[in-house]
């Protein structure tokens, strides 16, 4: 099994044959640090798997960048609404480091369902898992203080803290870099 097949296999329950078909539709590509995968307003016509590196999903709002998410090695990245409904993308997606991707274009993505009948069902299950994560995230904003969100996120994403500028993590947790820094000092002591 190739690296890509292993990753896809960890998300989707497919047999070896189907796995090979799906994997064959993804092509390797590289983004350099700072390169944009997608810009707000553009049309996202691809879905990618991050083989190494990381990407930041953000929006420019009133002169400030709001980081929505950071996608790291082993995760998928796209603007799902733009890919699916052909609407302008809501997000900027930019490489935080040199990043290796496996990318499938929209035409091939839309063909997977024909080639692998189980695909839609598998993808639905995958999306259900993402759903749960988003629900947790919303719940965190409804019920936790900044400090509790920091602790929770740190517990579950320790490695990210030495890999990306902390201000981006602060933003995706809904706090300023200053607040993040103060909470961090407290947590380290």
């Amino acid at each position: 099994m190739t690296e890509l097949e292993q990753y896809i296999n960890s998300y989707f329950g497919l047999n070896a044959e189907d796995l090979a078909i799906v994997a064959s539709l993804f092509k390797p590509s590289v983004l350099l640090k700072g390169d944009y995968y997608l810009k707000t307003g553009g049309y996202c016509n691809k879905l990618s798997f991050i083989s190494s590196g990381m990407l930041r999903v953000f929006v420019l709002q009133d002169g400030k960048e709001i980081t929505q998410w950071i996608s790291t090695t082993g995760y998928f990245v796209t603007d799902l609404a733009s890919l699916t409904f052909e609407v302008p993308a809501r997000w900027n997606i930019q490489a935080l480091s040199d990043t290796q991707l496996f990318t499938i274009d929209k035409e091939d993505y839309n063909r997977i369902g024909d080639l692998v009948p189980k695909w839609h069902k598998m993808e639905k299950l995958f999306m259900t898992k993402c759903f749960t994560i988003m629900e947790d995230r919303i719940f965190a904003f409804l019920s936790m203080t900044a400090e509790q969100r920091y602790d929770f996120f740190f517990e579950h994403n320790r490695e990210l803290f030495n890999q990306v500028p902390l201000q981006y993590i602060a933003s995706m947790l809904g706090m300023t870099p200053e607040t993040f820094s103060r909470i961090r000092r407290k947590a380290l002591s």
Copy 2:
């Protein structure tokens, strides 16, 4: 077309025949005000469509109720993760008023994909729309003040404000009832 078929049709692009098959699997039922559709820790083995009335999705946390969402007429309700993966439910779901439902049990829900091949694909598209709504909601917490969240929500859900206790809306917007009340007074003037 029955009422239920019309509603299903508004979410899923199915032909008349498939629509009738799907609709036939839902059975009408009633919840009285205060009745629980689901309790935290239970297993959710059903998915329902709200024909009239409304349900509140909430969690009891440190003695406080956190309202995650209010589902109203024309929307679906379930604990998706519990239904899909057979894990204990995360949410309480309780009727805020007498509510009429069309309900499908898990066994029939899982059969839809066999009866209507297009189903998984349609459901995936439906989930993608829900995704966008959840992303918007997360973004609101990342970038807006309580007042801005109030205004935005009011703009898009005016009718809810005369139908449910405002404290629940306050909770799902991530603020206290007192803050909600003050913002409301300001907005009304």
